[in-house]
Structures are given as C-alpha cells and as structure tokens.
Subunit: 233 residues, 2 copies
C-alpha cells in the first residue's frame, strides 16, 4: 500500500484506483478542488475511497484556480457542446494544471512516505494537452528526481499514458469498476448531459470498447449524431 | 514588463525584485502563504510591490501546507537555533516546495501572458535543498517546456543560482534594495531574533559582502560566536 491515486471521480481515475487496488498497492485517493464546475465528480471520488477502504484527501486549491483565470472550467464562459476539438478543449485547460497537481501530489507522497503517485493521463488527450504527453510525463519524473534527490524516491505511475479512453474502459471493467459511480459531465446536472465534450467522449469510449455504458444521459442520442454518425457517414 | 517575481519578502527575493525592476521588466510580485510561521515576510513583499509600483498577488496555499505536514515551518516543531546544518535545515523543508510554487507561478505566467518567472534560489542552498540546485532548475525548465508546448513560452529566471547569499547582498545594494525592509527570521518576533538559522545566515552574508547590515537583531552577537568565531578560531 504505497500508491496515492490522483482521483477526480471521473471514469479514468476511478478505473485507475480500482486497478491499483487490484495490485494491492492503493494507499489513498487525492482529489483537487480547484473551483471547477463539476465538483460533483469529487463525491464520486469519495464513494470510490469508501468502496475501496482507503483514505480520501480533498485539497482545496481554489485560491490557485482564481489566480489562474481564463478557463471555461472555472470562469463564466459557456462550456462548449460536442466532441473535443482543439478550440473547445483549450477553453477547458487550467494553465499548467497537471504540473501543479502532480507537484502537490509528489509533496504529499514525500510527507506520507508513499512510493508512487498514480495519474490517469491517457493518449486521447495527447493531441490537445501537452501536459498529458509521454514527453511531459518523462520530463516531470526527471524534474522530481532532481527535486527530491537524497530525500525520497517517488515514481509517477501512468499506466494509461499510451492507451485510449476505450482502453481504460476495458481495464476498468477488468478490475470491477462500477462505471455508474463515476462522473464525466462538465455541466454538473442531475444526470450526465450527453452533449458536452466529456459526455460525448465517454459514450464513444464505451462504444469503441464494446462494453455496455451504464450511464444515464439526459440526451442519449447526441453522441451518435456527433461522432458515430460522422464516423459511419 | 514581462516578469513575475516570486517574492517572500525576504532579503533574497526582494533584492531580486529590485534587480528585475532595474532591468525594466518587473510585471508583478507573487507571494505564497503556505502556513509558514514567518508570515511577517509577506508584509515586506507587499511593501516592496508598493515601492516598485507593481501588483502583488498573495496566493493562499495553506490547504496544501496542511496536507504536507512534517515541516518545522508549518508544524509545532521548535525552530532550531544556529547556522544552517543538514539536520536542522531538513526540518525547515516543506516537501517539494519549489516544484509546487514554481509550477503555480508558471500557470499564473501563462494566465497573464508573462514571459518570465524569477526565483531567488541561490548557491548557499545547494548542499541541503536539492530543489535549489542547477540540475533541478534545468529539469524544471525542460518539464515546463513540455507542459506548455504550443501554448506559451515561459522562462525560469534564476540569476542567483550560482551565487552565494553574500553575492545577493552585493547585487541588492547595487540595485538600491532597502535591506531593512526585508525579513529573514524564522521566529517572527518584533525584530529579527539573531539566533535562528536564517538570521545567522543573513548576518554572515552582509559580513562576507563587506556591506553594513542595517538589520535590528534581538541578539546581535550570537552570529559572531556561532560563525565568525568558529571561522576565525
């Protein structure tokens, strides 16, 4: 039990928590409240921790989110509908978010003597998010090796970094992840909207994985028009 | 005016702010409140910003400090007296502090379109703090280049990284830094205690620089017994 999993409560990071628990190495879950709209996610992270019998720490970094304005996730910009595309995805980036969250998680790992920090970055985000690419992940580890030299050895564990979101669905299913207890929607309603970028991406991942999507979507056909229709047409 | 200076209000970072102002590139000062005891420092950072006519942002990251317990700066451990030595300095380290603060500063630089983040790391800290060494600084820049690829170019500016604290005193004097308006003491009394690690280091730096120390110390002779006496004896 030596691994802290950064867990937003989304499909990817809850699947990762179940994977690490399956390895017998899950120490705790760490969530960040950075003023994002979909705080609902964090409730699913708490449920995940409860289910897996580990501690759950929520770090309030809203002051940082306020300092780093200009993002659709934290400001009063409309969340764009449809599949992730470059323009709309840039809106959802909090500047330097992964470097910030990973650095904090590494600090916590040192404090509690954990050996690994696990993060659910995946290949589907490479095109738009430079801080999800293998080059960043490698450089981050090198930076941390310097920062902690002589004090601690902490490894960044990113088993999905070369995979797709569909691969995560397959892995999550293999590890018994209850997908209905994960949250993706950027709009934070009672159920998943089915129309925002993450809902469309989620629905598509289940489709590509060939695994039944247990999610309740307010609009259950939009993804098909937006993605599958386009792909087949 | 394209440079954010990370400024604690201490001698090093206030000297750095005056240096960057002298270059005509000072955009703003950024301070972190991470629950350290010497919050008094931050008041001197505010004074510095006022004096140099720039904005001053204080980011409250106390929630992170609470998450990363185990440090003399934030916990109920006695601050050790005397010159910095390995054992006592380790107590004053917040795990991964520089990686965390620099990552946040880079995020802010992206948000406000600044081109440089300046930090007052110096050679006197290399022996104990791995996250002040040139190897860390280089690796951090490489990591950030990956993280921000295609979005922004931000450079980490660390003009003191190869210098000593005495070199900073010389540079600060050259740039008209009012040293009496900087704070070093870890104990946070009405005046500098003159006995803690940073007070001794501060007093010694002025001595080595051959510049009069305008600081009011509660104990003005301790440094000499602890350091100069030892050096001369």
């Amino acid at each position: 039990m030596d691994t802290i999993v950064i867990c937003s409560g989304g499909l990817d990071s809850v699947s990762l928590a179940h994977r690490v628990a399956g390895e017998g190495r899950l120490l705790s879950l760490l969530s960040f409240d950075y003023g994002q709209r979909h705080v609902k996610e964090v409730e699913f992270a708490a449920l995940c921790a409860q289910r897996l019998g580990v501690a759950h720490k929520v770090l309030d970094i809203r002051a940082i989110g306020e300092g780093l304005s200009g993002s659709a996730l934290t400001d009063d910009i409309d969340v764009p509908d449809g599949h992730y595309e470059e323009a709309s995805m840039q809106l959802t980036v909090v500047p330097n978010r992964n470097a910030i969250m990973l650095s904090i998680a590494f600090g916590m790992a040192v404090a509690v003597r954990a050996k690994r920090v696990a993060a659910a970055v995946h290949g589907g985000d490479h095109f738009i998010y430079p801080d999800c690419r293998p080059g960043f992940i490698h450089a981050f580890q090198v930076m941390q090796n310097h920062a902690l030299e002589g004090y601690a050895d902490v490894t960044l564990y990113v088993p999905y970094v070369e995979g797709s979101k569909a691969d995560i669905v397959v892995d999550g299913a293999r590890n018994g992840t209850p997908f209905e207890q994960t949250w993706s929607c950027y709009k934070g309603g009672a159920v998943h909207c089915g129309r925002c970028g993450t809902c469309v991406e989620r629905r598509e991942a289940f489709d590509l994985a060939g695994i039944k999507d247990p999610t309740d979507y307010a609009d259950d056909t939009f993804w098909h028009e937006a993605i599958a229709g386009g792909r087949e047409g």
